[in-house]
């Protein structure tokens, strides 16, 4: 009979397990849910919040629990317990109940039993309507701990409490019966299992009937009441088939195959066994599928995680770019501001320079010109009386100096204004010979001193169209050069060549000449004149610019020691 014994024992455990799992499924009985709705601060106001998320800790506790997210739920439980905030008994009762359930699910049976006991203890103080449930829970826990006597004690207590919840009552009765069965108190076991069977019948709970039938069959079978047992086994199989619960069906088939084997009905036993294997396979398949699905889930999760990681990396990358761009922008704006500042400074400096230039030249202009004109008058008088020759030379030199300085000042002033585009410019029809005469007027003492011969062969009726002031500056510079570079008693020819729309003025000296390369390269240069004085090219450069401003052409041809010819081509009519 040893081998015969083994079977049912295996069956017991699996059956117990099934019972619990069914007990597990009814997590919140109606009364317990009602208690939650009453005590939760969120659900209290509106019951529809029960299945919705809310920030309240207590609400999250039962919300996550009913969402099967027991870990999150447990976090809130510990949080609430550690804070020691909850004073409300109902809340405490719910909290400990859920805690016990979570711990039970985690198979931490000792802690689960402590929590369940605490819940029952609190539940007693206000006569909780769902107390019976917690007894059931505690009973199950004890049963799992194989402390069957304690289990019996607790389940008996639960039984003594009248309950409206028939389903939990049936399960409790069933479990109680099983506990007695383990304790080998067959009579009590039979009593409770039959009661459970009867109730299952009453409420037409097929699965409950299948389990009850199988357990009653086991009970009888263990007492060698085979005749009583076999009908229950077969009933159980029928109910299990109807209930469509593979695990229960599998147990029923296995038990029956063992039973038939013992009855030496090998064919039947084999048939049951085959059926059992088939179901086992399908369960295994289901599990496999479930596992594969689980694996897929994991892979998907991994993929998701990788995606997330990649996204994060991307995010990180963008953040870096954004930071870099910001830094760059900051740099740029910094430099821009600096440049603007510098620009402003440069502008201010330039303005100051121009102001200084105009002040200095303006203030110098008047006295130098006054000196020049005074010396001019003295010279005119002196020459007439022809007195001291030495004195005359000194005065002429003084006049020359004043005249040169005056020209330099005028050049600077014109240069400055021209480059600021502020120079007065008013072109009109002008008689060329008259303009040359006006310019030559200032050179008369020098011409006389050096006994220069100026031959002007320009018809008085030759007109050009130009701005008088700038033209005079050009002519002053050109004549000044011609006179400076001419040796004593030298000749200067001034002539004009007219064409239909232009008039070319030529100033030809026969002095020492100079290298024109410098001038053509638009560089200011310095050349030594007849007296060894150097002259900067500023005058010529300015002359070129002002001639061009008058829509003219300024050109120089010069040969060393042979002389220089300056040609200024000007318009004769308004353009």
């Amino acid at each position: 009979m040893k081998s015969y014994y083994k079977g049912p024992y295996i069956l017991y455990f699996s059956l117990l397990f099934i019972s619990f799992s069914t007990a597990q499924k009814q997590q919140h009985t109606e009364s317990f849910k009602k208690e939650i709705l009453e005590s939760c601060p969120v659900c209290n106001t509106d019951a529809s919040y029960f299945d919705k998320f809310n920030k309240d800790d207590f609400h999250q506790l039962h919300y996550y629990f009913s969402q099967k997210n027991i870990d999150s739920s447990y976090i809130f439980i510990t949080k609430l317990i550690s804070k020691n905030q909850i004073q409300d008994k109902k809340q405490l009762y719910i909290l400990h109940t859920i805690k016990a359930r979570i711990l039970y699910q985690k198979k931490l049976l000792n802690d689960a039993s402590i929590s369940a006991q605490k819940a029952i203890e609190i539940g007693h103080t206000f006569q909780s309507s769902s107390l019976e449930n917690q007894y059931g829970l505690l009973g199950v826990i004890y049963k799992d701990k194989e402390e069957f006597s304690k289990g019996i004690e607790v389940l008996e207590k639960s039984k003594s409490i009248s309950s409206e919840n028939q389903r939990s009552k049936r399960i409790n009765l069933h479990n109680l019966g099983l506990c007695y069965l383990h304790e080998e108190k067959y009579e009590k076991a039979q009593e409770n299992l039959l009661e459970s069977y009867r109730l299952n019948q009453q409420y037409k709970d097929t699965l409950g009937l299948a389990q009850s039938s199988l357990d009653i069959a086991n009970l009888y079978y263990q007492q060698y009441k085979d005749d009583l047992a076999i009908p229950f086994f077969e009933k159980g199989l029928a109910y299990a088939k109807r209930a469509n619960n593979l695990t229960v069906l599998q147990d029923a088939l296995l038990n029956l195959s063992v039973v038939e084997e013992n009855r030496k009905d090998v064919a039947k036993a084999l048939r049951y066994r085959k059926e059992y294997e088939k179901i086992k396979d399908s369960i295994w398949n289901r599990d496999q599928i479930w596992e594969t699905a689980q694996n897929d889930k994991k892979v998907a999760q991994q993929v998701n995680e990788e995606k997330l990681k990649a996204e994060q990396q991307e995010k990180f990358f963008y953040i870096i770019i954004a930071i870099l761009a910001t830094v760059l922008l900051a740099f740029l704006s910094y430099f821009y501001i600096r440049m603007r500042k510098q620009n402003k400074i440069i502008k201010e400096l330039n303005a100051t320079k121009n102001k200084l230039f105009s002040i200095v030249t303006h203030d110098l202009k008047t006295p130098v010109h006054t000196l020049k004109s005074k010396l001019y008058h003295i010279l005119q008088r002196k020459e007439k009386s022809a007195q001291d020759q030495k004195e005359l030379v000194t005065l002429t030199e003084g006049y020359d100096l004043a005249k040169n300085t005056a020209l330099l000042i005028d050049n600077t002033l014109h240069w400055t204004l021209q480059h600021q585009d502020k120079l007065l410019f008013h072109p009109q029809k002008l008689p060329l010979s008259s303009i040359i005469e006006q310019v030559l007027y200032d050179y008369l003492p020098i011409i006389e001193e050096h006994k220069l011969e100026i031959n002007t062969t320009i018809d008085e009726a030759t007109f050009i169209y130009a701005d008088a002031n700038s033209l005079k500056i050009v002519l002053r510079n050109v004549l000044d050069n011609a006179i400076k570079f001419s040796s004593s008693e030298g000749k200067i020819n001034i002539k004009a060549i007219e064409d239909s729309t232009t008039c070319t003025l030529q100033i030809i000296d026969h002095g020492c000449g100079f290298d024109t390369a410098f001038f053509n390269q638009n560089k200011t240069t310095s050349t030594k004149d007849r007296t060894g004085k150097t002259s900067t090219g500023l005058g010529l450069q300015l002359s070129k610019e002002l001639t061009e401003k008058n829509s003219g052409i300024f050109s120089i041809s010069s040969a060393k020691d042979k002389g220089t010819t300056v040609s200024i081509t000007l318009q004769t009519t308004m353009k």
């Binding site: 303006h362 202009k365 008047t366 008259s434």
Partner: protein, 244 residues
């Protein structure tokens, strides 16, 4: 002298005024009035007859020369005198149509040229002086003689006679050679001020002292006798019977 160009000066700087006076004297021109404020200037405008006005732009530190130019209007020429070369100075002056401007410091030739140019422009005879053509303006003839600008008042003219291509203009002091034809000149004169006495001469009506029709002679106030040709005698006697 009657043949001096009359100049009105608007200047508040004593030194500059001095230079201007000296230079104008050199050019044999007459300063008929000096104003150193806008008020004085406006008062002078009503009082004096002048041929040209020389205006310093900055008087009393403000561009009052321009304001004064606006008072003168367009019938008389004026010249702006300034030491500034900056175009901005003339921005407001443009509206007053400056006939010329003169940059300080200037030499006598430059001043003279500026005045000539302004007069030419007012008479709408630009370039005339360089071509020795007389300029008709302000009841006078302006001519260049020995590089000097001469003003000949019409009332001072005795007679103008043809001299080859040109004309000889006689006043009681001088004779001027004008580079123009008699016909051309007569076009510029108002009718009846000058009378043709023969083919080559016109005389001023005002300067006729006596007419001797029988002798075909006209005696002028300066004692000169001119011939009245037979051709023009009839017209002359017809128009001026009063002298009979």
């Amino acid at each position: 002298m009657t043949n001096e160009v009359k100049v009105l000066v608007f200047e508040d700087q004593e030194k500059d005024l001095q230079i201007l006076k000296e230079t104008l004297l050199l050019q044999n021109m007459e300063i008929v009035g000096v104003a150193s404020s806008l008020q004085e200037g406006i008062a002078l405008l009503d009082r004096v007859d002048f041929d040209i006005a020389l205006l310093d732009i900055f008087v009393e530190g403000e561009p009052k020369g321009i304001a004064f130019a606006n008072e003168i209007g367009s019938d008389k020429p004026f010249i702006f005198i300034t030491s500034s070369l900056e175009a901005s100075i003339f921005k407001s002056a443009k509206n007053t149509n400056p006939h010329n401007y003169l940059i300080k410091p200037y030499n006598p030739l430059e001043l003279l040229f500026a005045i000539e140019l302004a007069i030419e422009k007012t008479a709408a005879q630009e370039g005339a002086f360089s071509q020795k053509i007389p300029v008709h303006y302000n009841e006078a003839i302006f001519v260049k003689k020995n590089k000097a600008l001469i003003k000949i008042n019409r009332k001072d003219i005795y007679a103008i006679s043809v001299d080859g291509q040109y004309c000889n203009l006689k006043t009681d002091e001088e004779t001027f050679l004008l580079h123009t034809s008699l016909t051309q000149l007569m076009k510029e004169f108002p009718e009846n001020q000058f009378i043709r006495v023969h083919r080559n001469m016109i005389v001023s009506l005002e300067k006729i002292k006596m007419v001797y029709p029988e002798d075909n002679l006209i005696l002028l106030t300066n004692g000169e006798k001119v011939i009245l040709s037979r051709k023009y005698k009839a017209t002359f006697l017809k128009n001026y019977r009063i002298f009979r």
